[in-house]
């Protein structure tokens, strides 16, 4: 079985993001970029499945500009076998991304597509579901535990009420939640090896034939209103008095 893992290059989770002064987007110049944390978990999971002998190839794919090669190389250094960059200079919305990924899925015919439940830049949480729908295959989203059998898998999902276990037929789309695994560290010797692994570049247009562009237009980015600073109270009495004053007690 082949596993296809979709990853995205995003502003590092620990960076304090700033909106560009003209409101046209988020500042990314000189900002640390990383693999979307959920996607890193997806890569890790695919590698573990392969290491357990249940898959023979792990392919990582990303849609992005040329710099996204860096994140593909990271995934290769973690242990993926080959990589595909669908190259574009523009930011894609979920449907377009899912359509483009579908093209790769059809070409590669993976037994499983694993991707993060959402990318932490837009937090949309849509692409996996859309891809499954377009591909007309089952999906298991927000997965925190995965068990692969011959042609089905058991997925434990993190849902509002707690955990839910479902069985889905392969091929399927899986979207990962945080607790699925703890991604491995990248070893320096493996970075060297990763340089020799294949990385194909496809122009995005090649993957989008027939796609009718119906994207939303974003008018403006704004920083959320600053929250008021907390204050320190000196005593319980003062706290109670303040709560009363604000009508909270």
């Amino acid at each position: 079985m082949k596993i296809l893992v979709a990853i995205k290059r995003v502003v590092d989770f620990n960076v304090r993001v700033q909106v560009k002064p003209d409101g046209s987007g988020v500042a990314t110049d000189g900002v640390k970029m990383s693999i979307n944390p959920f996607d890193e978990i997806a890569v890790e999971e695919a590698l573990r499945i392969k290491e357990a002998g249940k898959a023979d190839e792990v392919i990582v794919v990303t849609i992005g500009n040329n710099s996204a090669q860096q994140q593909l190389r990271t995934a290769l250094a973690m242990g993926a076998d080959r990589a595909i960059l669908i190259e574009t200079e523009s930011e894609l919305q979920s449907l377009k991304a899912a359509t483009s990924l579908l093209n790769v899925v059809e070409k590669e015919q993976p037994g499983m597509v694993i991707m993060g439940k959402q990318a932490i830049d837009g937090d949309n949480n849509q692409t996996p579901q859309m891809l499954a729908t377009l591909w007309k295959r089952p999906q298991a989203t927000f997965v925190s535990k995965l068990e692969i059998n011959d042609d089905t898998l058991l997925a434990t999902r993190e849902v509002d009420e707690g955990l839910e276990t479902i069985e889905v037929r392969l091929p399927a789309v899986i979207s990962t939640d945080l607790r699925l695994n703890e991604p491995r560290f990248v070893k320096l010797p493996d970075i060297m090896k990763a340089k020799r692994k294949p990385l194909d570049i496809i122009a995005i247009d090649e993957t989008l034939s027939g796609f009718e562009d119906k994207e939303l237009t974003i008018q403006k980015y704004e920083t959320p209103q600053a929250r008021q600073k907390g204050i320190m109270v000196e005593s319980v009495d003062e706290l109670v008095a303040l709560l009363k004053e604000k009508g909270l007690a």
């Binding site: 590092d12 989770f13 620990n14 960076v15 304090r16 000189g30 900002v31 640390k32 990383s34 693999i35 944390p37 890193e40 990271t74 703890e182 560290f185 990248v186 070893k187 320096l188 010797p189 970075i191 060297m192």
Partner: protein, 458 residues
Amino acid sequence: MEITEIINCLKLEIANIEYTTQTDDLNTYGQDWTRFHQVDAGVIVFPKTVEQVQTIVKLANKLDFKLVPSGGRTGYSGGAVATQKEVVVSLEKMRQILDFNVDDSQVIVQAGVITEQLHRYAEEKGLFYPVDFASSGSSQIGGNIATNAGGIRVLRYGMTRDYVAGLKVVTATGEVLNLNQGLIKNATGYDLRHLMIGSEGTLGIVVEATMQLIKPAVEQSVMLLALSSLDAVMRVFSIAKQQLNLSAYEFFTDIALNHVCGHRSLDKPFDESAPCYVLCEFDEDEEAVMQVFEQGMETGDILDGVISQSLEQGQLFWQYREGISESIAHFSPYKNDIAVKVSLVPDFMNKLDALVSQHYPQFELVWFGHIGDGNLHLNIIKPDDMNIDDFKAECETVNTHVYGLIQQMGGSISAEHGVGMIKKPYLGYSRSAEELQLLKGIKKVFDPKNILNPGKLV
């Protein structure tokens, strides 16, 4: 003079003075991170203003009671420990950031501001305060100044001293001094600001400081390397510092790593254990990293290595190093915080290794340190079945050997933790008799009645 009497007099002078004499508080506020002294504080006072500090010090001079300035109490030298019914002056309630000037990139803080609070404040302003270490969530700027704290990025950024642009101090006789007022250039003779920095609360109480902030560095990568021997540590350092713009080069042994991983429930970073490890932090530069790594692999010095792929992973790597002190704290380790010139480190490590294995065969030793700036922390773990006084006595006999070696090599018996009570008997190994005489003279000038932190440092 009885403590109750002192308290009454303090109350007369400062009507709303905040203080405590509860046993728990006395034990907490009368102690730092060391555990070798019988704590015996008289009362803990919490002044809220410069004037209150001044009043307390003046009264101490008048009535002849002793004071212990107390910061975040993370010190490792017993500097903030009260053992003779002193009045402990905690700066904890003076925790305000008073002023910020964009053009100067300077911030005026009260002494009780927590180090981490300054980190965050600088970040909010798009700036950077680079002095950092594992205790920065508790230590105070006043305490950092009093000990001239160093930490993990000294290699690139230097010590606390390098960021103190101005100081407001209440001297031991109760005068308020405004030192250097934030000036970059000021050639007007003896710089008392620098005398105050590292004076461990023996000359005056720091009440406010003007701290210099700098531009943040570009993104840093963090790399952990597994090395084949102690010898390899400095060989790899010389390659690394040539190729990379390092901000930290930290070293620790497998024993140290095991303690951290046990204490924090972390997986070890490598499948196979190595004798020792280094953590390097540097401006991202993949090509240079690979060169360092390949060179080190060829010589056999580097066995394995991992490199952070996200800031979070970088922070996780740091835990392997920064968690060490905390992970061994409950063993009451005897800490040696020693330094020699960087060029002498390889020779020093070899001699020290031979020396301690000869003299400490019965003890577990935990080695780590800011080795890129010549600073080594050698921790001796107290065996469970040994009482603390015997243990201390045992460690002190070996000190003479270790410090003798340091003296020979022109090193320091306290690189960054300070002298306090613990290293006071050994000061002569790093300072000449003539120097010591002068130090005592300085103490006399500032504190003729020996009010501030008696029994510490000099």
